[in-house]
């Protein structure tokens, strides 16, 4: 079976000293930012992107991936101990997890979260490994029209599942595509919307845009909120579960893994959606559902498994089809492109080191995170005591240096400032930035596919409906849009988002 040979190769790549080191760094940073409220994987990854340029692509992605799924582990720590979610995907963990801590079962909650996440992560790793060759062969029968429709589907689902108004999110997607148009038109060589500025001939700096809107704008918004840090009163207790708790948690972990694996693959899905979905499921279906509201372990086990599974399977559309399913994946696309790698179905064949190495590294990363989160938990609790006012100058400084070092040009730092202001404005107007980022990344690719599709069909737009793959993509997109106009579903989504 070829898959074993490939996995073996992947492990040999992942176990190199450099890749192990960077997986560890990623896991540590991920846990740290997961624990710290006010800074998340999107901001951190955009901040650290420039640092990865000096490394080979595999190492870079390994570290960035470690940050993403590491943050899912770390976010649960504050959620359980302080009723403060470190990450959006840990919001539901606060509900039952904090109650468990109040009942003196903090240790059990933390252990469930870490062990459940590890199980889910392992399963997800296998799924990613299996999906690669499978989806790639499907994707090779894709023509440009099919790609265009698939990307369109991805954008629509990203907008539909984003927080807030779907209509405005679609507007943001389109705005993102428009921003992606700035630069040199590949086919004709003509400069578009560059105002004669040479630094813009390659387009707006992706790193500057991401850092400005997600990093800096978030700093400003965090400073606006008064800090509410509750003192840690609950004792952590033993990090293990009783037999009864094992019995209750296991089915939840299994269900959560399933939910997370599926929802992670969905374009627009991701860890947050998975944890909400799992929580609702557990509340309806688990044996201990009567205990919800007083500290039910199912409410921790399921969502924590789900968010970890989703964080890893969200790599699947990226690695096999080249389509980012959420903002973090959009950043990964950016990182790959800057490394000179074209994401797409050919990538599995062209970059086997990257694909299989990343998969093996994900599993290794999960092992590392289990160690980091259980025995070393005391360290993270200490980290929580650091007030934000000491953190933000550091984040700002790293952003500044990072933006500069992309192209060794201060223009990129100015771009960051501009997008920080724009990002701040967007937040005040309740316009979601994540769809914009996905549109920005996918826009240029979509234009290329559109052009090719039109060339092949001699200008006939019906080709998008005539080709079966393209037609089905568009149909799903239409269904998703229509579904969101139904008030029931919209209320359901709002309820989930509100926690």
């Amino acid at each position: 079976m070829e898959i074993f040979a490939n996995l073996a190769h992947g492990f040999s790549v992942a176990l190199s000293f450099q890749n192990l080191l960077f997986a560890l760094i990623g896991a540590l940073i991920g846990t740290a930012i997961g624990v710290l409220p006010g800074i998340g994987p999107v901001a951190t990854i955009s901040l650290l992107l420039p640092i990865t340029f000096g490394q080979p692509a595999t190492t870079a992605i390994i570290m960035l991936a470690g940050i993403y799924y590491g943050a899912q582990y770390g976010g649960s720590t504050t959620a359980i101990l302080l009723n403060l979610p470190g990450e959006v995907s840990s919001v539901v963990t606060t509900l039952e997890g904090y109650k468990m801590a109040r009942n003196g079962r903090a240790g059990a909650a933390l252990a469930t979260s870490a062990l459940g996440s590890f199980f889910a992560g392992s399963v997800a790793t296998v799924v990613v490994a299996a999906s690669g060759p499978l989806l790639t062969s499907v994707a090779l029968s894709f023509g440009p029209a099919d790609y265009f429709s698939l990307m369109l589907l991805g954008l629509i689902i990203a907008a539909v599942l984003a927080q807030g108004s779907v209509l405005k999110s679609i507007g943001m997607v389109v705005l993102g595509v428009a921003l992606g148009l700035v630069g040199t038109d590949v086919q004709t060589g003509q400069q578009r919307f560059t105002f004669g500025i040479p630094e813009l001939s390659d387009g707006i700096s992706f790193v500057a845009l991401a850092m400005g809107m997600f990093g800096i704008a978030e700093i400003i918004l965090n400073l606006e909120k008064p800090e509410a840090r509750s003192v840690l009163k609950t004792k952590v207790g033993q990090l293990w579960l009783t037999k009864e708790e094992w019995k209750r948690a296991t089915p939840s972990v299994l269900r959560g893994t399933l939910v997370g694996t599926v929802l992670g693959i969905l374009p627009g899905g991701g860890a947050s959606l998975a944890s909400f979905g799992s929580f609702m499921m557990e509340r309806k279906m688990s044996r201990g559902r009567a205990m919800f509201g007083q500290g039910a372990i199912e409410g921790v086990a399921g969502p924590e498994a789900a968010n970890n599974a989703a964080a890893q399977t969200s790599f699947i559309p990226l690695l096999t089809l080249g389509i980012p399913s959420n903002a973090v994946m959009a950043l990964m696309v950016g990182a790959l492109i800057i490394q000179g790698i074209q994401p797409g179905p050919r990538m599995v064949e062209a970059q086997p080191d990257l694909f299989w190495g990343l998969i093996a590294s994900m599993w290794i990363g999960n092992v590392m995170l289990l160690v980091i989160n259980l025995p070393m938990i005391g360290m993270w609790v200490k980290l929580l005591q650091v007030p934000y006012k000491f953190l933000y100058p550091s984040i700002l400084v790293f952003c500044a240096i990072g933006a500069y070092s992309t192209n060794n040009n201060v223009f990129d730092v100015y771009t960051t400032v501009v997008f920080a202001v724009i990002g701040y404005m967007f937040n005040k107007l309740k316009m979601e930035p994540a769809p914009l980022l996905i549109g920005f990344v996918l826009g240029p690719m979509m234009e290329e596919h559109l052009r090719r599709a039109m060339l092949l069909s001699r200008g006939d737009p019906m080709v998008f409906i005539q080709r079966p793959i393209s037609a089905s993509m568009l149909a799903i997109a239409a269904v998703a849009l229509l579904a969101m106009t139904l008030p029931n579903l919209r209320k359901g989504k709002e309820a989930a988002m509100a926690g």
Binding site: I51, G54, S165, L167, K168, I170, G171, V174, L175, V177, A178, L181, D185, Q187, T188, Q190, R192, F193, I216, I219, I220, L223, E224, K389, F390, Y392, P393, S394, L396, V397, C399, A400, I401, Y404, S405, N408, V410, F411, V413, Y414, T416, V417, A420, V421, Y424, K428, L429, K430, M431, G443, E447, L450, R451, M454, L455, R458, G459, P461
Partner: protein, 201 residues
């Protein structure tokens, strides 16, 4: 009044950008559907954006009261003043020093002055200080070196937090820590190509 002012403003913003885009796109050849020129995709995208902007406004007319934050007189005033100050600085800068005609130094100084003026109003202070600190960084980095740029960045951004304003020694501590950390990570380990100290020009 079930107006959502935020939604209406969002829609207007989308329409405005799209309109500017269409105007800038006039120079670009459209081509045909079969052979798209550089202007084709922008045309599609901007028209779609206008349509969405209009829809957002229409929906916003009834989607419930969601007013924009009210700006105090001081906030509006300092915004206008900041824009004027920035523009004036940009126009005047080249005559102050040769330095400001090079690369984007004029823009940087204009940004720095503009954002600092913005800090006059308490409501704008956070945005102002954070952005001013980044503008300072860009302005000083290449000729002044990393250390000077960082000192200014940390100092200006620290002004954003009232705790820091009250305790300058704490800020000094952060500065020393960050300068050392950045030197270690960026100069020693990663060796990014940037001057550390002011260059002898």
């Amino acid at each position: 009044m079930k107006l959502s002012a935020k939604d209406i403003a969002s829609g207007l913003f989308l329409i405005l950008i799209a309109a500017i885009g269409l105007w800038l796109n006039e120079d670009h050849a459209l081509g045909t559907a079969r052979r798209m020129g550089p202007g084709y995709m922008p045309m599609l995208v901007f028209w779609l954006q206008i349509a969405l902007g209009v829809l957002v406004i229409l929906v916003g007319l009834g989607s419930g009261p969601d007013p924009l934050e009210r700006w105090t007189g001081l906030e509006t005033g300092s915004l206008i003043l900041a824009i004027i100050a920035g523009t004036v600085t940009y126009l005047v800068a080249p005559s102050i020093s040769e330095f400001f005609t090079q690369t984007y130094n004029g823009v940087g100084l204009a940004m720095l002055v503009g954002f600092l003026v913005l800090c006059w109003a308490a409501g704008w202070r956070l945005l102002g200080y954070v952005c001013a600190s980044l503008a300072f960084f860009s302005l000083v980095l290449e000729k002044g070196g990393l250390m000077l740029a960082l000192i200014g960045t940390i100092g200006i951004s620290a002004m954003a937090d009232p705790d820091h304003r009250a305790r300058p020694l704490g800020v000094l501590g952060i500065m020393i820590f960050l300068l050392a950390l950045c030197w270690w990570i960026f100069i020693k380990e990663l060796d990014i190509r940037v001057a550390v100290w002011p260059m002898q020009n």
